[in-house]
Amino acid sequence: MRSLAASLLAVMVLAAPAPALAFAAEPAPARPGSAASPAPTEAEARRVREISAQLRCVVCQALSVADSPSTTAQQMRALVLEQVRAGKSDEEILAYFVSRYGDWVLLAPPPRGFNLLAWGLPFVGIGIGVVAVVLAARRWVRNGRAARASSAASGAPSAEADGTAPLPAREEPGARPRSAARDRLAEELARLRP
């Protein structure tokens, strides 16, 4: 049960940062973009990279426009460069692409409305995980103490004494009768020990 809950938590945490589904389109033959304009300066190239890194390559699976070698991405970078040269701000350029492709084109969904879920859930997941770990640790400590107390009281060979800890004492003393199989295992292990 505990491992089920843990794996569900893991699924939630992993799934949360991927709010949009990837989409595949037809592959395009690679072809250099229009080379009519002069080569970008270093500053221009840096801005083009920064802006296109925030844009989703629309014909790829999980790639930004900055990282994709596809023709579409090349043409998009050329368009970004042109708008940079026209003196547009980063926000204006991103807004142009959003007006054509929707919020989907942004790799990081804007943090509003339903999208807030994608921004918040990972932290909620981490919070739940921390609480679960603290609760579990406290329980193990308490059970361990109870087991030590019971073995000291019964005078049985102490597991903790020689540091081998053969059996985890999950049940609290007297809470439930120990099973026959477990008793037998404990006896046999004790016999093996010099």
Partner: protein, 179 residues
């Protein structure tokens, strides 16, 4: 928290599966290809591009007042573009006398292959070359084929992703030419 109260809350653990199930139920119901275009109901972006056959420029503004079918295609887009090409040519022949213009926009292709394609399907409506992809991006095109229907007021009325069927073409043009 005592062990007892922890056990009492155990029935809550399966509930943690609910958000995941809800997310999956939502995810499997939506069509990942049906990405809504922000252009629908907005003015269609203008363009001026050279015709592949004559090289003369054609503008969307030249077609003002008509219903316009704008189809994005490429010769490498097989089979969808090959399947819809006869539908488009047939639609053009039946609707051109009724105030409907058809415009093909060839993207990410070579002019030579594009002309071969036009010849193969005996295209008689104007087809333009968008060599730098400006119009393709202006229309928010993801892949080929995509078809936009522009109403008489110059607004994008509908967008079809994937091959256009004769039924969808008829139905949309009937609705747009009514009244």
């Amino acid at each position: 928290m005592s062990a007892l109260s922890f056990r009492r809350l155990r029935w809550l653990i399966p509930l943690s599966a609910l958000p995941v199930i809800a997310l999956l139920a939502y995810g499997f119901r939506v069509d990942p290809r049906a990405i809504p275009s922000p252009l629908v109901d907005r003015p269609a972006p203008g363009f001026t591009l050279p015709r592949l056959d004559t090289g003369e420029p054609l503008s969307l503004a030249d077609l003002d007042g008509r219903v316009v079918v704008v189809n994005f295609w490429a010769s490498w887009c097989y089979p969808a573009c090959y399947e819809e090409a006869p539908v488009l040519e047939d639609g053009w022949r039946r609707w051109k006398e009724r105030g409907v213009a058809f415009v093909g926009i060839n993207m990410q292709d070579t002019d030579e292959r594009a002309r071969e394609f036009m010849h193969r399907f005996s295209f008689t409506f104007p087809n333009l070359a968008d060599r730098d992809g400006r119009t393709v991006i202006d229309y928010g095109v993801y892949g080929v084929p995509e078809t936009f229907f522009i109403d008489r007021e110059g607004r994008v009325a509908r967008k079809i992703v994937g091959g256009v069927t004769a039924e969808a073409l008829e139905e949309t043009l009937r609705a747009l030419t009514r009244g």
